[in-house]
């Protein structure tokens, strides 16, 4: 408020100086010398100087505050360690998941091979059959050791997800980004396919319908389903 008053006073003072100058020179009949022009320029620039002197501290203050904010954002971005995430953490987690898929597939195949051999074995020689079953059972136990290793790999992936979650959450909090500023999500081609083809993937315990519920939907409760389409 004080600043605005000061600016208003200074404006009046400068306007008065310009008016005085014009009053003093109004009877020149168009005879204007270079000195007159220079004098007018001096009066005008003097008024601009006063104006800029008044405005400068406010502008400087604003620019300093913006610079501080930019510096703070740069610090937050560096804390995010985005390069470490994209260069190391996320690819490492991907490799762990690939290894889990590979290990579980290998183990499943070993177990199934053992089971298939037992199923197809000749049972006429009881002793040989017993030995075969015993050996294959040991093979099945061995194959089940994948669970320990995959458990450790899963822990590493969970730890990476926690690392990313902590940094992104902190980044959002420090930048004070409100939820309403989140950009609207555009449906990707993959998401559109999932929606149109009703692809939800496996449900967690208690989320999907059970086999009994499905049997009810397809069987006795058919009349209720039909009502949904009436």
């Amino acid at each position: 408020m004080e600043r605005l008053d000061l600016m208003a006073n200074m404006k009046q003072e400068n306007v008065a100086r310009v008016i005085d100058f014009l009053e003093e020179n109004k009877n020149r009949d168009g005879e204007v010398s270079l000195t007159d022009v220079m004098h007018l320029a001096e009066v005008m620039s003097g008024s601009m100087y006063d104006f800029l002197s008044t405005v400068q501290p406010a502008v400087t203050e604003e620019l300093t505050s913006i610079a501080k904010e930019i510096r703070r954002m740069k610090e937050e971005i560096s804390q995010l360690r985005a390069n470490d995430m994209t260069g190391n953490k996320i690819p490492d987690a991907g490799r762990e998941l690939d290894a889990i898929v590979e290990a579980t597939e290998e183990a499943t195949n070993s177990i199934m091979e053992a089971a298939e051999e037992i199923m197809g074995a000749d049972t006429s020689d009881a002793e040989a059959y017993q030995e075969l079953v015993s050996n294959k059972m040991i093979g099945i136990f061995e194959a089940c050791t994948f669970q320990d290793i995959t458990g450790q790999r899963i822990s590493k992936v969970v730890s990476t997800l926690r690392y990313i979650d902590e940094r992104v959450t902190s980044f959002i909090e420090h930048l004070r980004i409100p939820e309403e500023l989140d950009a609207a999500l555009e449906e990707s081609e993959e998401e559109r396919r999932k929606r149109e083809l009703i692809l939800h993937g496996p449900q967690h315990t208690g989320e999907g319908v059970s086999q009994d519920d499905i049997d009810a939907l397809l069987g006795d409760a058919q009349a209720d389903i039909d009502k949904l389409f009436d």
Partner: protein, 127 residues
């Protein structure tokens, strides 16, 4: 329609392991002629070349899902009567209703056991 253990059965799944599991379970149930396909497109091609007595299909496959396969089978006058069982991890009510509307004969949610598979196959052929 009577259950005939000699009839060819088509198992459709993009996971070789699951095909192997279903194949073994079907063998245990007495089926001998078991064929497989890795997705709906391959299954449809096979179905146009051979008459299968039963199709057991997963839902989530690419490029053609089991749901799309079911709709195409039902829309094809030459294939429309083929018994079709969906075996899937898709266990939301809307999936079951959509499959029912598309003409599925039965629906098994993964993971399942041999008894469930046997029960559903018998139910399809006892209708």
């Amino acid at each position: 329609m009577a259950l005939d253990l000699q009839m060819p059965v088509l198992v459709v799944d993009d996971y070789k392991t699951m095909i192997r599991i279903i194949r073994n379970l079907l063998k245990q149930l007495g089926f001998e002629d078991i064929d497989d396909a890795a997705d709906g497109t391959e299954a449809l091609e096979k179905m146009k070349q051979r008459r299968y007595g039963l199709v057991i299909s997963d839902w989530n496959m690419e490029p053609m899902t089991g749901y799309e396969l079911l709709k195409q089978v039902r829309a094809d006058s030459g294939l429309s009567k083929t018994p079709f069982i969906m075996v899937t991890a898709e266990s939301k009510t809307e999936n079951v209703i959509a499959a029912k509307k598309a003409g599925v004969n039965n629906y098994i949610v993964k993971p399942f056991n041999a008894q469930t598979l046997k029960g559903k196959i018998e139910a399809v052929f006892s209708d």
